[in-house]
């Protein structure tokens, strides 16, 4: 599993791996929204938590379609299926690699974009923390969606249609944490619920995703 994880990391960091694409997209969202809604600091501060979370969510989506698809096309997914590790482990390793190359850098970049969007001062730490806690769920749910659509040619659009509704609870709780942090309200309950969704997704979705991959390899 660790070897597979490192292999996926190497592939992502090399040229054409798509690393940086998600970050650039996230940056663009943060630049384009003020251009769209106007530069008033009060308005921006109000919508900043939501924009940052939606932006992070969409950026996660960008590299999902190649999570299993490239391996499926060149046949390495068949080899992985016959490897001694269970398919659930493969899914988990690949989702982890996806998180390290998108979720983690997004969480670290988010405070910088928070400055651009006039995010209220106390919310910065919570923004990073909520993204650190929430993005693993995004990667895992995305891996499930990618597993469903791996056999479909140009399944990228379908993938977003399937995955985005599944992102709803994560988005709600994640943005709520940042919103409440900005207003100085108690934020324990959304934070715990966010962590709960991540824990639940990591525990259960590998089985669903592995089943979908097995069906697609049949």
């Amino acid at each position: 599993m660790i070897a597979l994880f490192l292999r996926d990391l190497r592939l992502a960091f090399r040229a054409g791996g798509g690393f940086g694409l998600a970050l650039a997209f996230f940056l663009l969202v943060a630049v384009l929204v003020p251009l769209g809604v106007g530069p008033k600091a009060a308005t921006l501060a109000l919508i900043a938590p939501g924009i940052l979370w939606v932006g992070a969510m969409l950026s996660c989506l960008l590299t999902l379609d190649r999570l299993f698809a490239t391996d499926f096309e060149d046949g390495s997914l068949d080899l992985l299926a016959t490897a001694p590790i269970p398919m659930e482990g493969v899914v988990l390793a690949k989702a982890a690699a996806h998180w390290v190359t998108t979720g983690l850098p997004l969480a670290l970049l988010a405070p910088v974009l928070g400055i651009l969007l006039q995010l209220p001062g106390p919310a910065f730490g919570w923004l990073t923390l909520s993204l650190l806690i929430g993005t693993p769920a995004l990667s895992m749910i995305g891996a499930f969606g990618a597993a469903l659509t791996v056999g479909i040619k140009r399944g990228g659009l379908l993938l977003s249609l399937l995955v985005l509704p599944l992102y709803v609870p994560t988005l709600i709780f994640g943005a709520e944490v940042v919103q409440r942090a900005g207003q100085g309200a108690p934020l324990q309950s959304p934070l715990l619920l966010l962590a709960g969704i991540t824990a639940g997704a990591l525990a259960l979705l590998p089985f669903a995703a592995a089943m979908a991959i097995r069906v697609n390899l049949r």
Binding site: L158, L161, P165, L166, V168, L193, L204
Partner: protein, 242 residues
Amino acid sequence: MSVWEYANPKRFMDTSARVLPWLAALAALCLITGLIWGFFFTPDDFRQGSTVRIIYLHVPAAMMAINAWVMMLVASLIWLIRRHHVSALAARAAAPVGLTFTLIALITGAFWGQPMWGTWWAWDPRLTSFLILFLFYLGYIALWSAIEDSDAAADLTSVLCMVGSVFALLSRYAVNFWNQGLHQGASLSLDKEENVADVFWVPLLVCIAGFVLLFVTLVLIRTRTEIRARRLQHLLLRERMQ
């Protein structure tokens, strides 16, 4: 005699062909009585005026929109566990019907909300979760139509339906957390003292029965179509082999 006999497509086709006209007639009867009764022979509500009559479409459609998903979930589980093709096809057949009911609930709700709340749409938990349910239906149908191999499609959509059910429930409670609602609470619960008055209640029950029957009828028709389409496909394949 058990339910599983209908896993045999032949038996299913025979029985459903016999039941279908009766079901359709009963559905039409219930809907016509319920709607005419509700629309023309009930008093106006003292605050809502005649807009209250939208309840006869809105509530049954909304109930069936949710129940259709539950039915798809059960059918998907049967397919995953016992591999009965009729079950997978019934789940596939129910999806567009559920989607339409969701749309009816949303649109009639908007027509009622415009005069009553002064807005077509509000980001209320119930409204939002219905919109999300609509998206789930869309994704489910899109996945069915995107995969060519029919068994793989049935497997994958079943998995999606299971995972989607969990997330739909989660979303339902998440939006409750996110915003307090405008939408009134349930007024038809069996365990509450205060419910909607009997004048509105009885025709509403007839309408609900009509929508349930309509749903069953439509799903049966669509399942029969799917079975026939599957048979045709096999015939064509066999012809090409020769």
